[in-house]
Symmetry: C2
Subunit: 228 residues, 2 copies
Amino acid sequence: MKKIEVVQNILEANDAIAAQNQQLLNENEIFAINIMSAPGAGKTSLILQTVAKLKNKLRIGVIEGDVASTLDSEKVRNEVVDVVQITTRNMSESCTLIANMVGHALKRLPLGDIDLLLIENVGNLICPSEFALGEHKRVVISSLPEGDDKPIKYPVIFADADAVVINKLDFLPYVEFDINSFQIALKGLNPRIEIFQVSCKTGAGIEDWRAWLLKELEANKHKSQAKK
Amino acid sequence: MKKIEVVQNILEANDAIAAQNQQLLNENEIFAINIMSAPGAGKTSLILQTVAKLKNKLRIGVIEGDVASTLDSEKVRNEVVDVVQITTRNMSESCTLIANMVGHALKRLPLGDIDLLLIENVGNLICPSEFALGEHKRVVISSLPEGDDKPIKYPVIFADADAVVINKLDFLPYVEFDINSFQIALKGLNPRIEIFQVSCKTGAGIEDWRAWLLKELEANKHKSQAKK
């Protein structure tokens, strides 16, 4: 009983900070997405594709979460308004970004100069599902080589996501991945989930993803303005 | 300070239970390996290949760790002496197997009938690194489609491993993966690490892995007998 209470308290404290983060984002008219996946599914590649497609239209900021190294922020640094690296190499916090880390990162970003904030979470299909960061939308990337059973084996992160990006579509000839049964499993967990099929390598399917992001960004802007 | 102490206590308690598990394994002359990887890297496939190569020589038991579903134990059930499924779908424990879960699983296995115990950990490159289970050897699988930067981005799990299995070697023509720089990064973290290059799909390289497992199992048997 005590253990469950402790966990409950941590999650409630996290949710309170996440709500503050979202308020700060809304005040600055920033639309933020939390990008989650297993290691190597293509979070950085999706960010690079998104930036390439949208940097002439939107001012983009990035928060990079990693256990160790600054490899990913180096890859995006020259393409965006600003990038803040969070390195979580500390056992008790390392398996996900938490709202508090993102709150500190927001203080280091030029919020007035950003329209779209892409938050790359730590590579993990379990821990990030429990921690809101203040984002407006939650996106999970699932890549073909991982296999089509991931929604069944890691249901929580998919059930809570707004969108799933099926990446590495160029691997389709080389893997056994039933896109149809993957989508059925996803819809079973979460009937309203948006699903995109892309290859960040070839650029296939990125246009649909870009269009959805822009639509959601506009919808969020109207919602924020209506509240003022 | 308090937080660090709490984490320290959890890890110490886990280590104590892991030591009990290992003692129980040694009393029953069982050699146990802890198989860790990101989701979809091929833990179950490596287990199936290992069982196929060794089931005529050794009596094999399996412990399957998953957040949800019994997909993996269904795949191995008919091939081994016994399999116990641990389903960790509970936020505070879900991101890794811990020694306590394995201790309970050991009570459900016919220990006198097992020579080799394969423990499939939860798909995660972060949390499992901190938790000993009682295993004799720790193995990490890293698959080509994940990219060759994983030892740099998730160093702890690789630094503590006894062996790394590079899987999905059949993907080499389709991915950018520099096996040489991957191995250099691994050796930098852990000079004594054993590295195997395999394809669980085609069976390539499995013979070396099998030979190493048998050698380590024999070495462990002699060590256990010397202690008696």
